[in-house]
Symmetry: C2
Subunit: 311 residues, 2 copies
């Protein structure tokens, strides 16, 4: 047993309460509340050169994205803020956090501020609390035959990060998407009552889709050609197989992945909206992971996404 | 305006929801739930040489102490765990966390595990959620004439830390108290319905008592001679004025401080228990902070406790 699975086994041993959903989900469901906590680390989840405002925005966004995937309405948050004595950075960080809190009407309810030793990378945490809708889809409810619908473009954020890695001064739409992802709260709330399973895509579509399929006890078929890449992504990376594989494994997308019964067409409830949504595959009964595009089967890449944490 | 107060003003601007209690409290109160988040940092809140089990215990204890001060019953927690690739440390940390979770019947509901860059100090966060009792005393409700009751010994933890600073191999009761504080959940729940105001003493009695008095719009009188020091503390530090000032400003006590109306004697409901409780002062109408002992007035020390964070 790897150390990662030992750790996860130990955590699961503490998480026997039904509200924990066996730690198989990104959230806990306690009464009519949905709770999630995501932490971001300087140099791991964001670049030390990112504008502090965008770091504040991103901390809010990654947590709200977990609420979006459960169809929950944001009702409050607790902030864990580490201080390094750089008042200007901290001020600008809080103004970015304020921006996303105000945009999504998320009140700050409390939290903690602590000093960091000199030179330590910042660690920023948020607990977001939402009010559950009529149903809170887990990762585990997918059924054989369910269609997999992807909401939101993928690949833009990873392409933006690649641009910034080459040139820390890079700008443009892709960089903006990396720095300021948009949590898809409205669509999440619309889809949740119809979804057998739903999660946000944060570590790469292929990795997260496999997690959903595995948690649901299903196999998986994904069609790379069905991805709706953004014009900015296509202009930067093209849209051939390699570009599509890059998009499907890049991570940091904060898109939504919903398993919906074949009888339900989400376009009926999203008519008139400009939501980027596409059916990108289905859950299968054979336990395998089949990847294909218009030209035929595609070998699974070695890396399906970011496995930077064990749960 | 100092940078700390600018930061706090900015946070308060985000915290207009009544559940936030104006960030004047250590908890948020959302419906019948009490929520708190405390973060501890290696080298700031614990020693890098502390046994990992005790760090896990302490992370649980500091959060449960906030629930205790509000009379709440623990109902679940979300863990933010940073990993540095030291499997053995992390395993031992989790076993200490498991110990306190099991002791106080606190189920793990979820959270996040993230990788840290090499060499970064660990930052460990916990969001604890409790069920509110019949009333949730804040810091702000104290009334002129209320008696200040202190539950639990103070000074032991600071004396333990001083021993460890001199000799990292030190052992004994004081060191144990520093490493494994006991959250006073049962007494907290008994006192909460009677308290005008209550909080836990984590940054030093004098500092926290002043915070309670200020939040309540009152002055304050504290009698150092009334402190019930533990035998282990007295053996190490004595019980003269200097020792009592050390105990009253040391911090890390996780004792409870309750403002109770003079008509209510807490000993009536604590009869037959072995709780360490003493009346150590009162809230006054003159806005001043008067410190005294059996020998007369005591000048306020320059440092009342640990002001290591702005809220």
């Amino acid at each position: 047993m790897s150390s990662e699975s030992t750790l996860l086994a130990r955590l699961r041993h503490l998480a026997t309460h039904p509200a924990a959903r066996g730690l198989a989900d990104d959230v806990a469901v306690l009464g009519d509340l949905v709770l999630t906590h995501d932490t971001i680390v300087e140099g791991v989840h964001y670049l030390p050169t990112d504008p502090p405002e965008s770091v504040g925005w991103k901390l809010g966004a990654v947590n709200l994205s977990d609420l979006a995937a459960k169809g929950a309405v944001p009702s409050g948050a607790l902030l864990s803020l580490t201080l390094r004595g750089d008042d200007q950075w901290e001020e600008r960080f809080l103004s970015g956090l304020a921006q996303i809190f105000e945009h999504f009407e998320l009140p700050l309810l409390g939290g903690d501020t602590v000093a960091l030793p000199e030179g330590a990378p910042r660690v920023l945490g948020l607990t977001a609390i939402g009010k559950a809708g009529p149903s809170v889809p887990s990762r585990t409810g997918g059924q054989v035959g369910d269609r997999l619908w992807l909401v939101g473009p993928i690949g833009d954020s990873a392409a933006g990060l690649a641009l910034l890695t080459d040139d820390p001064g890079a700008t443009g739409l892709l960089v903006d998407t990396y720095r300021r992802p948009i949590p898809l709260l409205a669509v999440g709330a619309l889809l949740a009552p119809h979804a057998s399973a739903m999660m946000d895509v944060s570590d790469g579509l292929l990795l997260d889709a496999r997690r959903l399929a595995t948690a649901s006890g299903c196999g998986l078929r994904v069609d790379l050609s069905a991805l709706r890449l953004s014009p900015a992504f296509i202009a930067e990376r093209g849209q051939h197989r390699a570009a599509r594989l890059f998009a499907a494994t890049g991570g940091d997308d904060y898109a939504l992945l919903a398993a919906l019964p074949p009888s339900f067409d989400p376009l009926t409830i999203l008519k008139g909206t400009s939501v980027n949504i596409a059916c990108v595959g289905e859950l299968t009964g054979d336990g395998a992971f089949a990847l294909a595009d218009d030209f035929g089967p595609v070998p699974l890449p070695e890396r399906l996404g970011y496995e930077h944490h064990p749960s």
